[in-house]
């Protein structure tokens, strides 16, 4: 085992991380050295609204839809991770059973996996979680009774 040879690409990547962070530090600190001396006044220190003194503050909260999207993203991201791994191996897995593969079972794995997840996707779709503008709490026809 020769660890260093194995790790070489990651060491190179680490060197890039160091270089990039170094550049960032320079970029963030230089202007405060080169630029004019800092001055403060009330307008400069106020949050920008439209050029006039601000009348309202930052919204403390935002729509719960962002949370729903972030959560759906996690779930489908995990799906993507599975699919990437499956995709890379697919050509080996699809080979006939004699040749070390699974045959069409390799496709069936992913199809079943996708069908289950697609049920969730379609449920989210039908219940309106993916409609950004007109998301109502329930389908609008409901209070007909």
């Amino acid at each position: 085992m020769h660890p260093l040879e194995h790790f070489w690409p990651f060491i190179a990547f680490g060197a890039m991380v160091v270089a990039a962070i170094g550049f960032s530090i320079i970029a963030v600190t230089f202007p405060s050295i080169l630029g004019p001396r800092k001055t403060h006044n009330e307008i400069k220190d106020s949050a920008y609204e439209c050029g006039l003194p601000a009348t309202t503050g930052t919204p403390a909260r935002f729509s719960v839809k962002f949370y729903v999207v972030a959560m759906l993203f996690i779930l489908f991201d995990i799906e993507v991770v599975f699919l990437i791994a499956w995709g890379v191996l697919y050509r080996k897995l699809i080979k006939p059973e004699g040749a070390g593969g699974l045959g069409w079972a390799a496709l069936a794995v992913a199809v079943i996996f996708l069908l289950i997840l697609e049920a969730g996707h379609i449920y989210a779709w039908r219940s309106g979680a993916l409609d950004w503008a007109s998301w109502r709490s329930r389908p609008q026809q409901e209070p007909r009774a």
């Binding site: 993203f73 779930l75 969730g120």
Partner: protein, 168 residues
């Protein structure tokens, strides 16, 4: 001490430091960001074990997706109140040592075998995507589909919880 050992100590100590900072930061956003940093150092440890796939997936899923959700939630709830870490309740103070003890008890059998495993280099397993995921798609098909079911349950849960309460 080899370069390898030095890297191990660097990543482990940095990871521990990040963990402590997650706990004692006054600001929930700072805690979340230290956790992201911790995940990156954890990925470093995985890399040292040649678990390439796990290291990268871990960053992709935990740092890239789950912590984004955490940040969203922290901002959504808008914690203006900043609490010191020792301001926990009694349950927390009692529960934490118990949780740590339980974890150690679970890890103890593994730790006992650690010395023996380290002396068996022929069992070295390179964690490439092929090595890790081929068994998953050949031998462990049922767990894969069960994972899909868990994800489905989570999807439905999110959509139901994300709805506004309707007034009767």
């Amino acid at each position: 001490m080899t370069v390898y050992d030095a890297m191990f100590w660097f990543f482990s100590l940095a990871l521990l430091l990040c963990g402590v900072l997650v706990l004692i930061s006054r600001d929930a956003v700072a805690s979340a960001l230290f956790m992201v940093l911790g995940f990156i150092f954890l990925a470093g440890l995985y890399l040292l074990l040649e678990a390439w796939f796990l290291a990268l997936i871990q960053i992709l899923v935990y740092a890239g997706a789950i912590m984004v959700l955490f940040l969203f939630v922290v901002m959504l709830l808008d914690f203006r109140e900043k609490r010191r870490w020792w301001h926990g309740n009694l349950l927390g103070w009692l529960g934490a040592p118990l949780a740590v003890a339980a974890l150690l008890a679970a890890l103890l059998p593994v730790l006992k075998r650690a010395g023996a495993l380290a002396d068996a280099p022929e069992k070295w397993f390179e964690g490439t995507l092929e090595n890790v995921m081929t068994p998953v798609f050949t031998r462990y098909l049922l767990p894969v589909e069960v994972t899909a079911l868990i994800l489905l349950a989570a999807t439905i849960g999110v959509v139901v919880l994300g709805r506004k309460e309707t007034k009767p």
